[in-house]
Symmetry: C2
Subunit: 190 residues, 2 copies
């Protein structure tokens, strides 16, 4: 997605060869117009996926996921990061490791927001190690539903997330895949 | 806002005379179409407020705030809940007490996302005790900016939030104000 790549080059800040700061338009300050265009792009890409729900991981995935769900005309479900394991018939949980923070959390949602037979389109802001996205696929499957697709706004293609998702049987689609980066330059995959 | 009140009556669940569950359309599962209509309503209400930025508190405020910012054509800033005090020139923080969780957090944003002279429209999903909204006004003022307005999706009018905001010099506007509720009934203010 050219518009997004241009925005990353203009307003993104590479902190190191692994950390990209896009907090001026994606995950702290948010550009609603860009989010709308991202939502329309995901809706176009996944138009034949027969998705019945969009799911995302709080909180930076919410904006692109909401716009995608709006365009597709389906509900959006926020999977929450819980610090504790809660035993309840109502909830489904799966442990996820955050490499960014060096901590673990329980990705959590309510059973009644993912029905058996649902086709769930997972949308998230970043793909790096794939931990969060894989956790989301586990919750979907544990609810008896199917993953209709995985859409990622920015992929760090030099990290193992894509390979791990493909090994698990999924085909993630990213709008901007960064092949490599350092403090002076960001290079996208073809 | 009639559409919202109808939705609260249809899909909201009163857990007690103080707790209203709206997680099927507002803050766990989200109805994008309803969020769009809420955003348009806030944009209409605050059309003369000359807002230059929308600010909200993560994470349930993000959806209505994003739609409001989209309609107004201005950026949206997410104020984050941090568990720790961080000393940094880059950040502004203010302590907020969560009555729901019985804990305190530091409401946090980056200085560069609220400029001196900005007129900030604060949008949040709930107004109860007013702690979060008051915290948001403090961050805005600490940044040298002005509060252009406070828009609330659902107000629990039987709790002190409105009075506290008015005493602090603000005029909160809510789309649905609940006068009283119990397990059988929800009564809105006129």
């Amino acid at each position: 997605m050219q518009l997004l790549k241009k925005r990353i080059l203009t307003d993104g800040k590479t902190i190191s060869s692994e950390v990209l700061l896009v907090d001026s338009f994606l995950n702290h300050q948010v550009d609603p117009q860009l989010m709308r265009e991202i939502g329309e792009e995901f809706a176009r890409i996944f138009k034949d996926a027969k998705a019945t729900r969009v799911a995302t991981i709080e909180s930076s995935g919410i904006s692109p996921a909401l716009m995608t769900a709006m365009k597709l005309g389906i509900p959006m479900v926020v999977m929450k990061k819980s610090t504790s394991t809660i035993l309840s018939e109502e909830l489904i949980q799966t442990p996820v490791h955050s490499y960014t923070k060096g901590t673990n959390y329980q990705l959590t949602t309510k059973r009644r927001f993912i029905d058996p037979g649902d086709r769930v389109l997972i949308i998230d802001d970043f793909l790096a190690n794939g931990e969060a996205a894989l956790g989301a696929t586990r919750l979907v499957q544990r609810a008896g539903a199917q993953v209709a697709g995985i859409g990622i706004v920015i992929e760090k293609a030099f990290q193992p997330g894509r390979k791990r998702l493909i090994d698990a049987g999924f085909k993630p689609v990213s709008l901007a895949a960064i092949a490599r980066m350092d403090q002076d330059e960001i290079e996208f995959e073809e």
